[in-house]
Symmetry: D2
Subunit: 260 residues, 4 copies
């Protein structure tokens, strides 16, 4: 189908922002270690190709999304690109802002937030599970462009959160447990978002938000349907991810203590 490219394999080296994967076996995570020397790879220009035995390989840049989907270690479900782009827009993140996140998970959304707030911004991220710390640090080290992530490996309940955050995102089983802490951290008018997999969690958080000084902006789900890129036989892929989670976004009203 892809006539000019079918004899190629594709290569990425994330550390160098080059991507390596095998067109004949798209599930392979790239070229086996040692098959090409790191210095040789450095000399190959982006978009160029080289031969190795009977095969040809293509060298492409590794995007942040490639890195997250193909290279990050995972102990739990990560936030998918279809959701991550929508979350960033709905939290209204911009360069220079301060955003909070709990839990960190594998660090996928942390990396996207780090890029969205840029070198002048800050990402405060909290993960309570001690066994996640090393994985998170490795994952972030491989893609972090700015020194703007403050990782806390502690339960948020016991934390003193910074004040005046522009936005906060909660991807955890019982987000209502730490809502009082987040309330204190979020500036008036600040945005809060949630990803929750079950409708039971959605009804619970909506009910709590409505009685806790939030204006609910939207509850939505984002679906991505991929197509097979064959111009003679264009059609959707046979299966798709049917569900990651429901997204809930709300706005913080004036702080309660000021209301009194």
């Amino acid at each position: 189908m892809n006539t000019r490219l079918e004899r190629f394999r594709v290569i990425t080296d994330c550390k160098k922002f080059k991507k390596v994967f095998d067109l004949d076996d798209p599930r392979s995570k790239g070229l086996p270690n040692g098959m090409i020397k790191s210095e040789e790879l450095d000399n190959i220009q982006m978009g160029d190709s080289f031969s190795l035995g009977s095969k040809k390989y293509l060298v492409l840049p590794c995007s942040l999304q490639d890195y997250i989907m193909e290279y990050m270690e995972r102990k739990t479900q990560i936030i998918y690109p279809k959701d991550a782009g929508y979350i960033t827009l709905n939290l209204d993140l911009a360069p220079g802002q301060k955003v909070g996140e709990a839990g960190t998970g594998s660090g996928a959304l942390t990396a996207i937030f780090s890029r969205a707030v840029g070198p002048e911004g800050l990402v405060y991220t909290y993960e309570r599970r001690p066994d996640f710390a090393d994985m998170i640090l490795r994952n972030l080290e491989g893609c972090q462009a700015y020194d703007n992530i403050l990782f806390h490996n502690q339960a948020l309940e016991k934390e003193e959160l910074p004040e005046g955050l522009d936005a906060f995102f909660l991807d955890m089983k019982s987000p209502w447990e730490i809502l009082p802490q987040v309330d204190q951290a979020l500036k008036p008018g600040g945005r809060i978002g949630f990803l929750l997999p079950t409708t039971n969690q959605v009804t619970r958080i909506i009910s709590i938000l409505q009685s806790s000084g939030y204006f609910i902006q939207e509850v939505a789900e984002i679906l991505r349907r991929g197509y097979k890129p064959n111009p003679e036989r264009l059609r959707p892929q046979d299966v798709m991810t049917a569900h990651t989670g429901y997204l809930i976004f709300a706005c913080r009203l004036k702080k309660r203590k000021e209301e009194e």
Copy 2:
């Protein structure tokens, strides 16, 4: 349903990044001019409320997305948030990059790109229709945070595009017509994206990309399904946007002239 808030109306003044809309009439675009003086609105804190006659109003910040969806003038279909977030991620935009766009349309995606590349980046945007210029400038003036947008009100065919662009997005009827110019502008390994409403356009651009030195990364569509935020009666909204366009993303291989 939203018991604490049902007596409120919501207010935004985008110029001041405050949002005004009427909860009782969600289609209204806000408080009529002159009903509250601009200085009075300035004194109301984000997340706070005020009374006007028998009604209460709520003051919330206006996000970039609110501005695009509620305040931007439109002469054509704009790029929706569900697509815009995904496009930004797939083009791998980051602070400091240079990205191109054609056509500008109403400027919705231009504004999102401006934010994504930040104060150190640049957005080159091209719109050939002369009658769009004033609207685009008004729309961008109302939301632009950085002086990083270079707007060209000319047909791209006759333009000398800048070289070394990191990414390019084409939202136009016949994107293949300007592909040679974009080829020259895009750096090797650079990302190109398209939004196309019909399958006929998709098969055509895929076929052209495959024979023009691009590696197709994905063809996909993004669907957003909204829910009514009622904790006692959670359910999807009755209707949804079923289609905006197919998204196609590809990577530029080594430049052709270098291949010779």
Copy 3:
């Protein structure tokens, strides 16, 4: 677009199983009364056309689905074709069977059930609202092919339901209220189905079914996405019905009294 037909209007007379609608104004419900005499319409063959003033009209048969969607009066949401076909299959309806339904609503699903069980089958349908009776009888009179519908305009709680029903479908707000009556009517192994619009209702009925002697077969939703039939510009329609209801299907286990 539809070049051979664009000068035509389409006509249906459901009473005569002919369909009349106006291609130039697809929302019109057909030819105004009196514009063509009934006897003249009788003489026009299916698939044939005739002229009236400067316009040409096309005569097509009216399907049961056309009748339901275009001609039935509605006081509430009807069951859509996308759901009705799936319900019929999942209840495993076949000629000669006995099926129950509550409530009748507008009678759309009643008509489809009547056809599925055929002249040897029976449809027992229950609607408690007295003001629905006339509409239901008119709606069914216009499309009923067999004398197999037993309509009861009574609250099901007070009814003595027939025993040995093969299947039962409940499209009502609080289906759990009449579940004990349905239990008695349904044969062991018989199938029960529900359409419920909210997730709160779904979790409630699932929980009740699991503790009341049912084996849950599936919970699903069916979505229909229409396309504009233009071969040069194939694309989905702009908007779609995003939600009608969740479908729940279960199998009745051995009757409780026999368990003792």
Copy 4:
């Protein structure tokens, strides 16, 4: 979760319309042969259970859909229930009608058509591949309730089709090749339907239908999204079938020879 049933396995014997499957291993196709004698199974009432070793099994009726999805042999993709129910409604099939089908494939839709037209109706089905014949006959034998299927193991091009068919469904790669034969068979006003997996096929058949005396009624796709039936954690299943095929329905205008 399913507390009353979690210790059960479920059993079906399709030949006897009883279903056997293993709740602990939902992918198993039922109880291994010989584990329970056929006569013993006959004595167990529908909805009842029995013990075998340390395990309990549940006996449920096998629906036509269960039979199609779990027991039919397949050499190609079968038509799924989500599509089959919608096709039956859109072809406006009713007891006593005559319907055609090409190709037969595995016979799944044939079995559903057989039921829809009932004992007084007829299904003419055509499959050109000689190696499909035995499988089709076995598949239909296991579920056929009426003697109303006329199976032809021949290429339709060479066949003399019956005239006056009410409807015809084409599920084949190049349906345009046999459209002239179908034209002759279909009565004026008769309905034709297609399932086609690619957009290229859809644009081609639409274009041909529009210039061949058909009125296109709709182009649509049907999506089914399943949910995990857990009342404490209601959520969609993780993956879903994203695509089977596009459905196209049209109405036959007056026969061409009569137009002259």
